[in-house]
Amino acid sequence: MTTTSLFTPSRRRVLQGMGAGLATAALPGHVWGQAAPLKIGFQLHRTGIGAAYGRWYERTTTAAAAAINAAGGIAGRQVEILYEDDATDPKRGAEVVEKLAGPSGCDLIMGTLFSHVVMGAAPRAGELKIPYLVCSEGYHVASGALNRWVLQPGITDVRAQISTMAPWVASTLGKKVTMVFPDYAFGHDHRDFFTTAIAAQGGEVIAQIAIPPTETSFTRYFPQIPAETEVLYHVMVGPAVLTFVKELGEFYGTGAKPALFGFIDSLEAVDTASPGLEFLEGSHFWEGHCRAKPADAGEAETAYRAAVGVDDNGASVSDAKDVSTYAHMFSCWETLYFIKQAVEASGYAGPADRQKLVEAMEAVTDLPEGAERPQGPMRFDGKKHQAFGVQNISKMEGGKLVRVHQTTIEEGLYDNDTDYTAMSF
């Protein structure tokens, strides 16, 4: 039996060592000095009710990370995204936050969309003192209900989105509005914020029709729509939306009908040219980011679509039937670039600097349009932990959404008492 040690190496061991040394020397110089990657945990709705969004949130974030890494990473560190499925469930969401912050060793966490998952996981993020950047559009962050570690820098919240729609609706479509909405929190946000916003424009919500979440047929609700309705505001979501539109079309037939205005949330990941949606022709929708590429789109928009793999109609370049959640998914791209900006400004080096990182995020104000923000310019309110951007109104023409109006950032700003900077860490 022969033995070798560091002090009496065999010929084979010496040759192996020399080979390894030569191979290492041949590596590019930047690999030598590379710091450990910045690990970003992504709380992903891979399964559950948010799966359609999750699929595109993952693609968008992967594309953004690749773009950032190709340009040198964040503060010289490559970005590594660790996706963890939360099943769109608040209990699992909290567990995922613990896992990403604990054994996975992430520097920060991002990406959560559904409001109930954000609400369920945010307390744990606060207790673990890890920055938690959500892409949810819920008002929960700006309302002050959460904690100092939760921010929403990549998408405008629903209160601002809804409020910015009212001036255009009142001046263009009409002032007597009937609202049809699902009878739970998402629908109630629309009911409350739009009713206030349209009243400020001299308009009036003349009927509020709440649809129970278990409803599968809507015909019996339509007679409740007052005849004098000028605008029908609808925000139905989920699989029943196709039935809703079809039955609404059958109710009005070819006769006179009010102008229709809705939120594209109803039709995210759904082809707007689908059979049954013909009744929506000529109607208008809110879009956070225009699914169909606008004629005047700039370089940033073109580059973003190419990077994520989305064609000019908002579908996957590899499968035209795989329609994206285009109105929302930009938030992942822009959140990752916001992280880059804050990490580089704060000199963040590791988990011990997390508080410094949040303070750097709170100090951000202007977020100009560009490759980092293809959706448009944004303004970040450090007290509310919330970004405010431009919103779009599109018209359905030939089964395709065409932008007809864009709001300003200022139209979406509002005052409330939220000041996270006064809250302790």
Binding site: P90, E98, G102, H116, A122, P123, Y184, A185, H188
Partner: protein
């Protein structure tokens, strides 16, 4: 004596694990023990008495909201909120059980499911008060027990362990009591139990109320320990979860609930670490287990190794 010694040893081992393991696992263990308390309550109804309920999410959520709503709206501290949660689960079980227990078997399962669905929809409907599907965060001031914050790893674990220990020892005492034998008699042959002079309706209602109290305490503890209450906890999956824990660990065994809850939790953790199709893997393991150990792990132990296992 041996049974008590084994149970105390299990509690000691869980306590040691919670205090010695890193913070991540301490929190996991706290969550497992709260869910195991829920499953232990379910086990009393299903495992020992044969009441196949699909409505226990209602008792869990009733306890959660009975604790969380006073904390949210009126700033109640944790101790009275926890008691309110336990009472909430028990009262909900009393009210629904008084009606549902007029049925049996599959009908009982369907009626409890319908009650639970109605309760879940009521939470969404009264969104202004309950926070609806979005839920709400429990104020940190209400998450203090005896002056200690339940948001910290060790106090949270100790609170969860205490709740579980109390539930486990009471369960053991209950199933070894005369009433425990009545429960098993009702499960095995209700007509024969009736002929022995037992009032099945009253006995089953009593079990359901105890089961509801256990579930309500677990729901209240979950809200107070993890800082959130929401409508999803009233959904059908939270009626199925305790059933899975009990079936996996061993229905009609006092320790089956914690074994099942722990295995399911770490199976999910492991599966989600190795594949994005983790739900498939978890489902596959459960199918295999049901095929090869239909009485659960401790049911298998009782059949093969220790007949007196309570």
């Amino acid at each position: 004596m041996r049974a008590w010694a084994v149970h105390l040893a299990v509690l000691a081992a869980l306590l040691a694990a919670g205090l010695l393991l890193p913070g991540y696992h301490t929190t996991n263990l706290a969550r497992i023990l709260v869910l195991a308390t829920f499953a232990a309550g379910y086990n009393l109804a299903f495992g020992y008495t044969g009441l196949l309920s699909l409505g226990h999410a209602m008792f869990f959520a009733a306890g959660m909201y009975a604790a969380a709503l006073p904390a949210w709206h009126w700033g109640w501290p944790a101790a009275p909120a926890l008691l309110a949660g336990t009472a909430g689960g028990a009262l909900m079980a009393l009210a629904t059980g008084a009606l549902a227990l007029r049925t049996a078997g599959v009908s009982f399962m369907i009626v409890t499911l319908m009650f639970a669905q109605a309760f879940a929809l009521a939470i969404l409907y009264f969104n202004g008060w309950t926070g609806g599907d979005e839920g709400f965060v429990i104020p940190s001031a209400s998450r203090h027990l005896f002056g200690t914050s339940l948001a910290a790893d060790t106090p949270r674990f100790l609170a969860a362990w205490s709740l579980f220990a109390l539930g486990l020892l009471l369960s053991l005492a209950l199933v070894r009591s005369r009433f425990g034998r009545v429960m098993v008699a009702l499960r095995e042959n209700e007509e024969r139990a009736r002929m022995l002079g037992i009032n099945p309706f009253a006995a089953k209602l009593k079990v359901l109320v105890i089961s509801g109290a256990w579930s309500g305490a677990a729901g209240a503890a979950y809200a107070l320990l993890f800082g959130y209450a929401g409508g999803s906890f009233a959904g059908i999956q939270y009626s199925i979860l305790p059933m899975l824990y009990v079936l996996l660990g061993g229905a009609g065994t006092t320790l089956g609930a914690v074994l099942g809850a722990g295995l399911m939790f770490y199976l999910t953790e492991f599966a989600s670490s190795v594949t994005s199709a983790w739900l498939f893997l978890v489902g596959l393991v459960l199918v295999v287990l049901v095929l090869f150990a239909p009485k659960g792990i401790l049911g298998w132990v009782r059949a093969r190794l220790w007949r007196e296992l309570p």
